[in-house]
Each structure stands twice: as structure tokens, then as C-alpha cells.
Symmetry: C2
Subunit: 240 residues, 2 copies
DNA sequence: CGTGCCAGGTGCCCT
DNA sequence: AGGGCACTTGGCACG
């Protein structure tokens, strides 16, 4: 534990917990509160959640998260720009607010089981992600033959009236090819998108331009196959 | 603190932390770990994040969350169906896995500052949300005149070849009206959606059917206004 | 700031 | 499971 850290609390009184949270906020520390609380949010919508055991987390950047026992998403959250910590009616009250848009998240603790905190170091915590659509694009541009033998990639994000085509190129016989990329299993929307691009390119290039459409993704759903077939387009299986 | 709760830990040895996490998991407790860790995810994509101070939360339903100091979203997460807790090379190792799709999230702690836990009660923690699109729809159906005087709502989610229209009705002079609802500030996509519905209804009803389109939302962006005007549709400001 | 689009989107409901 | 769509979507890039 670093010099400035504070030991965790067990079943603190509201005032003690309030001081703990204020201290954590000043030190730009992570702070977690485990206890029974109810929650009110007012902003883009309005919500209320009755008393239950929850995990409330305060991040150094004033993000406040309220987690119930189930599910990966918080029940409520707020990227706040101000936090009030008060004791009212013998309860700890966290009021996080934000302007533009105006939002308020208020957590009222009936009881707190445990509180913990840790000052965050300045280490870069960046996540490196691979296997995204951007990676798939790189892969296709680096080795266009992965799409099909003889394919030449001429442009990425080529603009059309219908929006940018992921990859534009020509096949071994010189026909224009629009490639739509998806990093995960593709749905019908990807096939529709491809059709829009192909149509736009046909108009864009020449009235009678022959443009092929290829959907490149690890896999696609059955209905997507049908849409592709209907529009005369193709599917190529490729992992990012 | 309930009988079964365990006191929080301060700078525990890996083995002690491992026992704490395993115990929390068995009791279906919330568990939070504050410390320095690195993270690896493999599943829909692949990601890696180097050592940094993070907040790791384990929920009773085996959801594992990894939060860095910034932002409301976790850096990594997994709604797991199995969790391995091990000590390897003097480090606590959390390995959460899931099948279908196959995913794995692995958190390795170099050091742990604090650990806390709380068994979750069975209280219903449901959030009541209002101000959603569903609420706006209720409001319009209950009082159609809010859209405009004399408007009659005839159907919600009326099917068209272009998808379901939020509200379908007729105005005071008997003309068909398609209403598209948005609970928040509407963007151009909402106007496009409305146009698709109106076009579909014109074909659906009669070749020469006169169909009006109205976008109902608290507000809309400038470009959205332009799209509406171009297509001859209208905007009505209404809060959910 | 508005617009467009990806995301490990998630969640809900329906077929 | 697939399909469609809302969501306090969040996030980034770009005009």
C-alpha cells in the first residue's frame, strides 16, 4: 500500500464513509463502496432503483458507476464533472452532476458494508486491441489475394455517394470490385451496405459499369447469404 | 456486516487474495480488487493491456469487469460461465471463460492494494426508467392531440415493407400520417427512417395515397431539419 | 459541435 | 439461435 493510501472500512458510519470518499476523490483514487443503496438518475432519461445491495465505484476521473448483482452493464452511471458527498438523515449521499448535457446521479446508502480505495498511478493503461475491422482492412491491403487470386486493392475508404467503401479494387480481369469488411459474423445490414456501395459505384463509374461486390467476414448468417445471392454479390470468409 | 462476510484485505499475498476471491465466488458475493495488473482478452477480438493500477470487479453472476482510471466503460469485461483463481509465479491470476462464443479474460495481478467483498441479498434491484421512446409512444397514444390538434392515432408499430411505423394515424382532414418517435435529440437517421416509412405507406395504401410524415422528438439537429424539409415532412417537439 | 460509423457494443423482444 | 431495434449507447475521426 502506498504511503497515501487509506485502509479499507468495514461497516463505517455515514460520516466516516463520507470522509473516506472525499479523501479518495482528492487523491484521485479509485473508490469502491459495497452496501445497500437506492439510486436516482435524471438526465437524458429519468430512473429510479429501490434499495438493494450494490457495488458503487468512483473513478479518479469522477466517473460514478452503480452495479447490481447481474450483468456487465452498470444500472446507472455518470461521467460527472462534480461530486457532492453528504450525510443526510443518517445516510451517505453521493450526488454526481454534469453539465451539457445536464445530468444528475444520486446514490443513497442505507448501509455500507465495506469501502476500499487506491490512488491510481499515472501509468499508461492503454489496451491494445487486435482482430478489429481495421486489422482486417490492413490484412486485405497487405495481401489482396486473400480476397481472391489476382485481386488488386486500389483504395481504402473510397468515397461514394452512398458513403466510403471499405476497400475498392479490381479483379484479375479488370472488373471493379467493392469489398465490405466485417470483423465479426456478418448480418444482413452488411449485405445491404455492400449493395448500396455497389449501386453507387455503378452510377459513379459509368452508366454500364460492371461492379462486383464482395462481403469479407469470418462468417455470415443464413439470411445474409440470401441477401447476397439476391443482389448477385459474393461472400469470402476471412478472419481478422 | 452479515455473518458470512469477510473483512477486506490490505496488500494481501497472492494466495490469501486467491482464497478471498474463491470464497466470494462461492458465496455469490460482489468482490472488488484494487491493484496493479495486466489483462489479456481473447474471444470476439484479442486484446492486451500492460501493467497499471486498475479496479477489477467480480459480480455474483460471474461477470468480470476491468476498469482503468478513465471512462465509464470497462477496458475489458466478460459475462463468464466459469472462473479459475490461481497463484502462478507469485501472482494472483483470474481466468474467466465462456463458451458460445468462446471467450477468455485473464487478469494477472502484480500486486493487490485492497480487496473487498459483500454477499448480495436477493432483493429485486430493478431500475425503473422513464423518459424512453416507449414512454413517448404511450404519451402520444394517450393524447394524440399532442402531435397536432385533431390527430387520431390508429395503430402503434404498424407494419410496412420498410419496417414498423412507430405510430400510424390520420389527421383532422383524414390524411394518413406516419409518426416517427425519438426520445432524445433526433439525428438525420430518424428523418431517413421516416421517409422510408412514408414511401412504403404510399405504396402500401394506394398508388396515389397522400401520406404525411411527422418526426416527434424533444429536438433535432440542423441537418435533420434540412432532410425533413427536403422530403416534405414535419417536426413536432415533444418531451417523453 | 454536428455527422458518420465502428464496437468484443449490450439488452429486449419476437420469430 | 437469427433478426430488428432502442440505448443515458460510448468511442473516434473528421468537417
Amino acid at each position: 500500500m502506498s504511503d497515501t493510501d487509506r485502509p479499507p472500512l468495514v461497516a463505517p458510519a455515514p460520516a466516516e464513509a463520507a470522509a473516506y470518499v472525499r479523501d479518495a476523490r482528492e487523491r484521485r483514487a479509485f473508490c469502491t463502496l459495497l452496501g445497500r443503496c437506492h439510486v436516482a438518475y435524471d438526465g437524458r432519461t429519468t430512473s429510479h432503483a429501490g434499495p438493494a445491495d450494490r457495488l458503487v465505484a468512483l473513478k479518479p476521473d469522477l466517473t460514478l458507476l452503480v452495479h447490481a448483482a447481474d450483468g456487465p452493464k452498470p444500472q446507472n452511471w455518470l461521467a460527472a464533472d462534480a461530486l457532492d458527498v453528504d450525510v443526510a438523515d443518517g445516510a451517505l449521499l453521493l450526488t454526481a452532476t454534469r453539465e451539457s448535457p445536464t445530468e444528475e446521479l444520486c446514490v443513497t446508502f442505507e448501509s455500507i458494508e465495506q469501502a476500499a480505495a487506491m490512488a491510481a498511478d499515472e501509468t499508461d493503461a492503454t489496451v491494445e486491441i487486435s482482430g478489429t475491422e481495421a486489422d482486417l482492412k490492413e490484412r486485405v491491403l497487405a495481401d489482396p489475394a486473400l480476397v481472391e487470386p489476382g485481386f488488386r486493392a486500389l483504395a481504402a475508404e473510397r468515397d461514394t455517394p452512398a458513403g466510403p467503401v471499405d476497400v475498392f479494387g479490381r479483379d484479375s480481369s479488370g472488373r471493379a470490385v467493392a469489398v465490405e469488411l466485417k470483423a465479426t459474423r456478418a448480418g444482413p445490414d452488411a449485405a445491404s451496405q455492400l449493395s448500396r456501395y455497389v449501386d453507387a459505384l455503378r452510377r459513379d463509374l459509368h452508366a454500364d459499369a460492371d461492379v462486383r461486390g464482395i462481403l469479407v467476414a469470418p462468417s455470415c448468417t443464413p439470411r445474409t447469404r440470401r441477401v447476397l445471392a439476391r443482389d448477385g454479390h459474393e461472400f469470402v470468409s476471412l478472419e481478422p
